[in-house]
């Protein structure tokens, strides 16, 4: 493991640095932030100073504090949602591949129907009916996202499933769970791990976009997408504040993509 890290290219290291920084900020938010998440402490859109490192937002809250709490809220929500969708999607995919026949058909058709909707449109429609509470958000986004995880895990599992060592285990009389856990899963892990990274990016961007549209995390919770929306008016005054949370979103996503790219490069090499 350490040998791998030592051999990693510059791009992967930059990615890892970005991700680690974000995780640290998210974890230790209350210790890092100088003010309260929702406290109004200054004038509207003040420029950066010693008192307010990044200035203030459209109501007068410290932008730095909001950014720190925003990291925590957005990342935590994204992580939870990704974990849920990943677990559900991967499990369904593995089951569909191993059981085959009717089970596969049924699940795949249901997934196809969900995928027939463009992602954002689907989420918007659901949220318009059930509202944007946090559980509803998690449910909706996870539902949309698990379809992609399903497709990938099913494809990977089917590739492995046709190999004779799986047939050998079947002929032995091994049951469904043994096949999944001991034969298929260990071989499916590399592509699945890479996919987790990509899915997190997607979910993260998705939450940010929904918040930007006003349908994600509701105020006064700090959330990077929402912060872009709240402060968008500043642009016309030549104050480029909304770029800061937007840039933070972009930075984290780039970081993860760099790591995933490196991981994919590694795992394809190992196959030769």
């Amino acid at each position: 493991m350490l040998k791998l890290l030592r051999q990693s290219p510059l791009s992967a290291r930059i990615g890892m640095g970005i991700v680690i920084l974000n995780i640290l900020v998210a974890l230790f938010a209350p210790l890092i932030a100088p003010y309260g998440e929702t406290s109004v402490v200054g004038d509207v859109w003040e420029s950066s100073s010693a008192k307010f490192y990044l200035g203030t937002d459209h109501i007068g809250r410290d932008l730095f504090t909001r950014m720190v709490y925003g990291a925590r809220n957005t990342i935590a929500l994204a992580l939870l949602t990704t974990a849920l969708s990943f677990f559900a999607g991967a499990l369904l995919g593995l089951i569909a591949a191993v059981k085959g026949a009717w089970t596969d058909q049924l699940i795949s058709r249901a997934i196809d129907i969900i995928m027939a909707f463009p992602t954002l449109i689907f989420a918007l429609m659901i949220l318009s009916v059930i509202g944007s509470s946090i559980p509803n958000l998690i449910f909706t986004i996870a539902l949309v996202d698990l379809t992609r995880v399903y497709r990938l895990s099913r494809a990977v599992a089917m590739d492995i499933e046709v190999m004779e060592f799986v047939e050998a285990a079947r002929l032995r009389g091994e049951g469904l769970w043994w096949l999944i856990r001991h034969e298929i899963l260990p071989n499916a892990l590399p592509p699945l791990i890479a996919e987790f990274g990509l899915r997190f990016c997607f979910v993260f961007l998705f939450i940010a976009s929904l918040s930007f549209l006003g349908l994600g995390l509701q105020p006064p919770l700090a959330d990077w997408g929402g912060m872009v929306r709240e402060n968008s008016g500043a642009i016309t005054f030549g104050i480029f504040i909304p770029l800061i949370p937007a840039a933070a979103i972009a930075l984290l996503t780039v970081g993860i993509n760099l790591i995933v790219d490196w991981f994919l490069h590694l795992s394809s090499g190992l196959h030769e």
Binding site: I113, I121, S128, I130, I256
Partner: protein, 319 residues
């Protein structure tokens, strides 16, 4: 030719069934609400009379299957009900905005698709050179950026700092083509960055895949010139996979257009959808959601058919 026609026929049939099913889902989605639709939407403070009127408006007093057929029937005839927000017919609202969204999407696609394909081809041909690495890094960055980030950067640069383009894409029905194009340059540019980046990466991968084929090696062993190999051997076999790539990325176009319309306050269907969702204006949400989905499904169908037609392995010589 016959077996290709059969495939196309089956594929179209499948699409129609899908459209039918999603319309059902959209309909049920509203019906299956826990509690009462009327009360949920109108809120706690609604009077019994308003609730009753609302019910009548949405025909909630009729049994579900009757309602569904009526709704579908109306939809097909272009009758989408009335908006809850302002009582106006939904069809009228959607019509013009749908046209605007199409305009924005088309102008993006017209630039993004050829650009992505050419860049992807070049990156594949000059694989692992500085050019390739540069493009790969650039596109990786762009696919990581949310559309609104790119939008605001462009606005900050080209609108606020250097007053070249308008930050709000204001168009009205009387505008000429020239002014329309001027108004949508920034939103279109934003979308182009994102869509091109996604498409280019996948095109590159598809073409590299084709270039690794045994028949390409055979052509080299026969002593054929590089240009000939690319045009006559690689290209015909790349059509199908590249069309697939374009099709898959149309999804990014459809999703992106919604976000971009909101940033630039562009009067399109995406902005209408977002507004209606915020206002819980369900008839509008249903109708615009359905329109978007049907367009998405049709795009996929079209791409699948093109892909089938351009797949050499489906050809028959009839000799």
């Amino acid at each position: 030719m016959k077996n290709v026609l059969m495939l196309i026929f089956k594929r179209t049939g499948a699409s129609l069934i899908t459209v039918f099913i999603i319309s059902l889902i959209i309909f049920i989605g509203v019906e299956a609400l826990p509690g009462d639709v009327a009360e949920t939407v109108l809120g706690q403070g609604a009077t019994p009379e308003t609730v009753e009127a609302f019910r009548k408006e949405l025909k909630l007093d009729l049994p579900p299957h009757v309602r569904y057929v009526a709704w579908l029937n109306d939809f097909v005839h272009g009758e989408f009900g009335n908006s809850l927000a302002n009582g106006r017919p939904v069809a009228g609202l959607i019509g013009w905005r749908f046209g605007n969204t199409l305009f924005l999407a088309m102008s993006t696609a017209v630039i993004a698709i050829p650009l992505a394909i050419i860049l992807g081809m070049l990156a594949a041909l000059y694989r692992n050179t500085f050019f390739d690495k540069l493009i790969s890094t650039t596109t990786l960055t762009f696919i990581s950026f949310p559309e609104f980030f790119i939008a605001y950067i462009l606005i900050s640069l080209l609108s606020v700092k250097f007053n070249i383009f308008p930050s709000l894409a204001v168009i009205d029905p009387e505008m000429g083509l020239g002014s329309r194009i001027y108004a949508i340059i920034l939103p279109s540019l934003t979308l182009t960055f994102v869509v091109t980046a996604h498409m280019m990466r996948q095109t590159r991968a598809a073409i590299i895949n084709v270039l690794a084929s045994a028949y390409i090696e055979m052509a080299e062993i026969k002593g054929m010139k590089r240009l000939r190999i690319i045009i006559l051997h690689a290209f015909p076999n790349s059509l199908s996979p590249v069309i697939n790539v374009v099709a898959v990325n149309m999804a990014y176009l459809i999703v992106g257009v919604v976000l971009v319309e909101v940033v630039f306050v562009y009067p399109g269907l995406g902005q209408l959808l977002v507004d209606s969702v915020a206002k819980r204006d369900l008839p509008v949400v249903q109708a615009s959601g359905l329109v978007f989905s049907v367009v998405y499904i049709s795009l996929n169908l079209f791409a699948d058919i093109l892909s089938m037609l351009s797949n050499p392995k489906l050809r028959q010589s009839q000799i």
